[in-house]
């Protein structure tokens, strides 16, 4: 209705913006390509929701719905994840069999959320915080934590908690990094599963609107606040658990925690939120 008309009017302007992006150069400036995407992506939400403040997108759907926001604030009075943060802190400092601990792997006391995800140019892959946590364990002769929830999510929650306020500024500096970014981008916009739906279909085009009883959260800010304690789960879980749930909902076979697919998607989504601040963990319905 009103939205569709708006959209049509805006198309022209966006085509112009795209034209400005490409500039001939000897080496491709991948960061510039990505920055242009970010501008377009964030601009989409700015136009859809002119009244929503940019920093509020870190609060997910609560940026868009007042009644839900009030209830969320009630939960944040004493958020259920505080127990997980406490447990995560203990796990973070708990000595491994070799005497070291997770704390020995991370600088700054573990307040490093803002450094992840990043593209490891040597290994040619995206490294996420949860991946780094488990790699630290394996490097010290411990078993990796199982995915999606439990100790992995708790440690991640603790590290996110002590990193709150760190700015999201994920860089893309090489062809390999850009390739991972593009894979994440294709995942985000591509339709999949029995319902033939995409991330963007629900979380861009339907953001703020009802799908049955639910208000769809905006994709801008999606990755800022994980891990989350979801009331529906009754426990804390990782971003990749949420991806798993979404894929399952649309009838697609989900990928594993820290699969290349989900890491690339996290990389892309986090880049789209460049400029926001990490504010996890969070409570969600």
């Amino acid at each position: 209705m009103k939205k569709t008309i708006q959209r049509r009017l805006l198309t022209g302007a966006l085509v112009l913006m795209t034209a400005l992006v490409t500039k001939p150069a000897h080496a491709v400036n991948y960061q510039a390509l990505v920055d242009a995407d970010v501008k377009k992506f964030q601009g989409y939400f700015r136009k859809e929701f002119p009244d929503v403040k940019f920093e509020d997108y870190g609060d997910g759907v609560y940026a868009l719905d007042e009644d839900a926001r009030k209830q969320w604030k009630e939960m944040e009075e004493f958020p259920p994840y505080e127990l997980d943060v406490e447990a995560g802190k203990a796990l973070f400092n708990k000595p491994f069999a070799n005497g070291k601990s997770l704390a020995s792997c991370f600088p700054n006391g573990g307040a490093v959320r803002g450094n992840y995800p990043y593209f490891d140019e040597k290994r040619k892959q995206v490294v996420t915080l949860e991946m780094a946590i488990n790699e630290c364990r394996v490097a010290n002769g411990e078993k990796p934590y199982p995915g999606f929830k439990g100790d992995l999510a708790k440690v991640s929650a603790y590290m996110a908690y002590i990193s709150r306020g760190q700015k999201i500024d994920v860089k893309v500096k090489s062809a390999a990094a850009y390739n991972a970014y593009m894979k994440g981008k294709a995942f985000f916009y591509g339709k999949r599963g029995q319902l033939n739906m995409s991330c963007s279909g629900c979380h861009m085009e339907y953001a703020g609107r009802h799908l049955r009883a639910e208000i769809m959260s905006p994709a801008l800010g999606h990755t800022t606040h994980f891990p989350v304690f979801r009331s529906k789960w009754g426990e804390i879980g990782t971003l990749h658990k949420r991806y798993e749930g979404c894929n399952d909902n649309i009838g697609a076979k989900p990928f594993e925690e820290q699969s290349e697919e989900y890491r690339d998607l996290e990389f892309f989504q986090t880049i789209m939120s460049n400029g926001l601040k990490f504010n996890g963990p969070a409570a969600r319905k």
Binding site: V61, A68, Q71, M75, M216, S217, G245, N249, G251, K285
Partner: protein, 153 residues
């Protein structure tokens, strides 16, 4: 096995169904825990078990702060308070739950007559709060909608 949006939300069924229920009470409980009131499956029985046959009067001096539409029935934030003088106890009930009595708070002399908690609601239903002052009971009722089939976040 048609292709249907119905599949979309099927995962909620299990979690939202965690209704508060006490089919058979455990044998040994704290002696002073109001087991009869908690075990009652009807609102009237629960109130009678807790307060006996005291007269009940509808009151506007009890406030219930709760969402219009609960985001998730497993965690509904509720605050109850009252301005009735000399109140000694406040209890909260959700008649639609298998076991309606949710909590009962003794308002101690130094405590303000206000308490917040998170409760379970199986479905859209009334919240009933009873306050006791002197030999009388005061009651207020409010509806809270609970959406089932949630798949958001």
């Amino acid at each position: 096995m048609g292709i249907s949006r119905r599949n979309f939300c099927k995962t909620i069924a299990g979690s939202a169904a965690s209704v508060a229920v006490l089919a058979a009470m455990p044998g040994k409980l704290m002696a002073n825990w109001s087991d009869k009131a908690f075990a009652a499956d009807k609102l009237e029985d629960a109130i009678a078990a807790k307060y006996g046959s005291l007269p009940i009067e509808e009151s506007t001096a009890i406030q219930i702060k709760a969402p219009e539409i609960a985001e998730n029935g497993a965690f509904v934030p509720v605050t109850i308070s009252t301005t009735i003088p000399g109140v000694t106890n406040m209890s909260i009930f959700t008649p639609a739950n298998f076991s309606p009595m949710v909590a009962s708070v003794d308002v101690m002399p130094r405590m303000k007559p206000e308490v917040s908690l998170r409760i379970r609601m199986a479905k859209t239903a009334n919240l009933v709060v009873i306050a006791q002052a002197g030999g009388k009971l005061y009651r207020v009722t409010r509806e809270v909608k609970v959406t089932i089939g949630g798949c958001g976040g």
